[in-house]
C-alpha cells in the first residue's frame, strides 16, 4: 500500500517535470575512427647517450609505435604530425586545447623522457581535447633497452582509457616461420612482438615443427616436433631454450595446448590410427584419457575457467565441434550448420568460440557462442585456419595460404588478423612466410 502511494507521488512529480523537458534520442553517429594526435615525446636535453640507441629520436620512435598500434585497431585515426600545432614539451605541460581542436583531434597524447644513470624514465598524458582536461597521466622507469615495451604499455593504457577494454599491445606472437619449396618446407619456431618487430627464431629448421602455443605465463611453449622423425608434443622453455618430450607415448602426439592454469597439457594421441584426447599433468606426469571413440578427436581447447573442453571430431561423419566437461563426460555436439567445422578455440572472456569452417571449397574464420548459437563468419578465403585470440578477446590472428600453380608457384603463407566484428582485416608483417600463430597474454599483467 505504501509502495503504491510512493510510486503515485513520484509519478506525478516526474510526469509534470518531464512535460517541460525536451528529450531527443540520438541513435546515429559517425563511425569514423577517433581522431587522435600523438605528439612525439620530448627528450630531455640532459639525457645520457646509450650504445645502439638513438636517444635524440627516441621520443619520436616511441610515439610512432603508439601511432602504429592505434592505427592497427581500426578504432583510432592518428593524425599527421605535420599538422601539429605545439612543441612536444610545451604541449605536455598544458596543451592549448583550442589549437589542437582546430586540426580536428579529439584526443591528444603527450609525453617526455629522460635517461639518467642508465634508467629510462618516461611519462605520458592523455588529454580529452573537447573537455579540455587530462584523462590519465602515468610514468614508468625501466632499462633503456625496454623502450619498445614502454611504447606498447603506454598504448595499452590509452586504449583501455578510451575503449573501456584491456589493451593487447604489450604481447607477443609465437608462430611457425616457413621457407623453401612447398613440398619441402623448412619450418622454424619464431617469436615476435605483436607488431611484427623483434623476431627471434627458437629452432634451427632441422626438423619439422608445428602448432606452437604459449602457456598462460608466456614462459613456456608446447608444440609438435618431428625430431628424429618421431612426431611428438614437446615443451620448450623460451628463456633457457631447454626442450623436452611431453610424456612417453608409443605413437604420435599432436595438437597440444595448455590448460588455463598452465599445469596440464591437453593433446591428441594417435593409437593404432585412432586419435583421442589426453591430458598430462606436467608436475605429476599423470596421463589421463579424456575421450575414447573410434573417430578422430583432436584440436582440444579448454574454456578459460578450465571446466569445459571444446574439440573437433568426425564421429558424426565429417568434422564437427563438440563441447564436454573437462573430465570427458557430457559430450555435446554444438555445430549443425552446413559445412565442416574445426579448430575450436575458446575466447579469453569465455563467451565465444572461434573456429575454422569449410564449405563448398572455401575456408572461413568465424565465432559463435559456446553453445553453438549465434554463428558469425568473419572472413572467407581459399585457405585459412587456426584462429588464436588476442588476450582481450577482441581480435583473432590466423594464417592464410594462397592457391598455388604448377610446382607450387605463387604459394605463400601469411598471418592475418581480424576484429570479431568482422571489420579491420589486416596482414601482419613477418620476416618470412608464417603459419600457426599463437597470441600471448599481456606481458605486463
Amino acid at each position: 500500500m505504501k509502495k503504491i502511494a510512493i510510486s503515485f507521488i513520484i509519478f506525478l512529480i516526474f510526469n509534470s517535470y518531464s512535460f517541460a523537458l525536451i528529450k531527443v534520442d540520438i541513435t546515429r553517429g559517425n563511425l569514423d575512427p577517433l581522431p587522435i594526435a600523438v605528439s612525439p615525446l620530448h627528450v630531455d636535453d640532459k639525457s645520457e647517450n646509450i650504445k645502439d640507441l638513438d636517444v635524440k629520436n627516441l621520443g619520436a620512435s616511441i610515439s610512432s609505435i603508439i601511432e602504429k598500434n592505434f592505427k592497427s585497431t581500426g578504432l583510432f585515426n592518428p593524425l599527421k604530425k605535420e599538422a601539429f600545432v605545439q612543441k612536444p614539451d610545451i604541449a605536455h605541460l598544458k596543451p592549448r586545447f583550442e589549437d589542437w581542436r582546430l586540426i580536428k583531434a579529439q584526443a591528444l597524447v603527450t609525453g617526455k623522457l629522460s635517461i639518467n644513470e642508465n634508467k629510462l624514465k618516461v611519462e605520458f598524458r592523455l588529454w580529452d581535447l573537447t573537455a579540455s582536461k587530462e584523462m590519465i597521466a602515468l610514468s614508468f622507469t625501466t632499462t633503456p633497452s625496454n623502450w619498445r615495451r614502454v611504447a606498447h604499455i603506454i598504448s595499452d593504457k590509452i586504449y583501455e582509457r578510451l575503449t573501456g577494454e584491456d589493451g593487447y599491445f604489450d604481447t607477443r606472437i609465437i608462430y611457425v616461420a616457413e621457407s623453401g619449396p612447398k613440398d619441402q618446407r623448412v619450418k622454424k619456431l619464431a617469436i615476435m612482438d605483436q607488431d611484427g618487430s623483434r623476431t627471434k627464431y627458437l629452432t634451427l629448421g632441422n626438423e619439422l615443427v608445428l602448432t606452437p602455443r604459449f602457456n598462460p605465463s608466456n614462459q613456456m611453449v608446447t608444440y609438435l616436433s618431428y625430431f628424429r622423425n618421431l612426431p611428438r608434443v614437446y615443451l620448450l622453455d623460451i628463456e633457457t631454450g631447454k626442450q623436452e618430450v611431453v610424456g612417453n607415448f608409443p605413437g604420435m602426439t599432436f595438437a597440444p595446448r595448455f590448460s588455463p592454469d598452465g599445469k596440464k597439457i591437453i593433446m591428441s594421441f594417435a593409437k593404432d590410427g585412432n586419435s583421442d584426447i589426453y591430458t598430462m599433468d606436467l608436475e605429476t606426469r599423470i596421463v589421463e584419457r579424456i575421450t575414447d571413440h573410434s573417430s578422430i578427436d583432436t584440436s582440444p581447447s579448454y574454456s578459460p575457467d578450465g571446466k569445459y573442453i571444446s574439440f573437433n571430431s568426425d564421429r558424426s561423419g565429417l568434422q564437427q565441434i563438440y563441447v564436454m566437461k573437462s573430465d570427458g563426460s557430457n559430450v555435446k555436439r554444438i555445430t549443425f550448420g552446413n559445412g565442416i567445422y574445426g579448430t575450436p578455440v575458446w575466447s579469453p572472456r569465455g563467451d565465444l568460440i572461434a573456429f575454422t569452417k569449410m564449405r563448398k571449397g572455401k575456408f572461413y574464420i568465424g565465432v559463435m557462442r559456446s553453445d553453438g548459437s549465434g554463428e558469425r563468419l568473419l572472413t572467407e578465403n581459399f585457405y585459412q585456419e587456426a584462429p588464436s585470440w588476442s588476450p582481450n578477446g577482441r581480435v583473432l590472428v590466423f594464417y592464410r595460404e594462397t592457391k598455388s600453380g604448377p610446382d607450387g608457384k605463387g604459394f605463400s603463407a601469411k598471418l592475418w588478423s581480424i576484429d570479431i566484428t568482422g571489420y579491420n582485416e589486416r596482414k601482419i608483417q613477418t620476416e618470412t612466410d608464417a603459419s600457426d600463430p599463437s597470441w600471448s597474454s599481456l606481458l605486463s599483467k
Binding site: P181, K182, D183, Q184, R185, L208, L210, T211, L224, N229, P231, M252, F254, A255, S268, A270, D272, G273, N274, S275, I296, T298, S299, N312, D314, L318, Q319, G342, T343, T356, M358, G361, F382, Y383, E385, A386, E401, K403, S404, G405, P406, D407, G408, F411, S435, D436
Partner: protein
C-alpha cells in the same frame, strides 16, 4: 516424316556429345570418385609392386585397386623377410593442419592393418603421418589433391 528427321538430328547430337565426353574422360580423368587412379606419381618397391595407394577426401578406406596394390606389397614383403617398411600417411591441403595429421595417421594404419591381415608382422611396419606437410604435387588443383591423399610404403634402410 519431318518429326523423324528432327528426332534423328537430336539423337545425332546426343551421340556426338556422349562420344566427346567419353573421349575427354578417357584422356583427362585420372580419378574415380575423387580417388586418384593414375600412375604419374607412383614409384615401385619392385617390378610391378606400386609403393602407394590413394584415398577419397576425408576418407581412409581402401579401394579395390588399393587392396590389389597392397596384396602385391605383402607378397613382396613375404619374399624379403629382412626388409622393414615405414608407411607414410598424407592428406591434401584442404583440411585443417591438426585434423590432417590425424587423417594421415589413420590412412597409414589402414594400410598397415591390411598388410598384417596378409601375414606381415606388425613389428616390421612403422607408421608416420605427415598430414598436409609433404605434398607430392604442390599445385592447388583437384588432381594434385587426389595425388596427395596417399599412403606410401617406404623401405627402411
Amino acid at each position: 516424316m519431318k518429326f523423324n528427321k528432327n528426332l534423328k538430328n537430336v539423337l545425332l547430337i546426343i551421340f556426338a556429345t556422349l562420344a566427346l565426353s567419353a573421349c575427354s574422360t578417357a584422356k583427362k580423368s585420372q580419378t574415380s570418385g575423387d580417388v586418384y587412379t593414375g600412375t604419374d606419381t607412383v614409384e615401385y618397391l619392385a617390378s610391378g609392386v606400386k609403393d602407394r595407394v590413394f584415398f577419397a577426401t576425408n576418407k581412409s578406406s581402401l579401394t579395390s585397386a588399393s587392396r590389389e596394390t597392397l596384396r602385391k606389397q605383402a607378397t613382396f614383403l613375404r619374399k624379403n623377410k629382412k626388409l622393414n617398411v615405414t608407411i607414410e600417411g598424407h592428406a591434401d591441403e584442404r583440411g585443417t593442419r591438426e585434423y590432417n595429421l590425424a587423417l594421415g595417421e589413420r590412412r597409414a594404419n589402414a594400410v598397415k592393418d591390411y598388410l598384417m591381415t596378409y601375414g606381415i608382422s606388425g613389428k616390421r611396419i612403422s607408421v608416420i603421418s605427415y598430414g598436409k606437410e609433404r605434398p607430392v604435387n604442390s599445385e592447388s588443383t583437384p588432381l594434385a589433391w587426389s595425388q596427395n591423399r596417399r599412403s606410401v610404403t617406404v623401405k627402411v634402410k
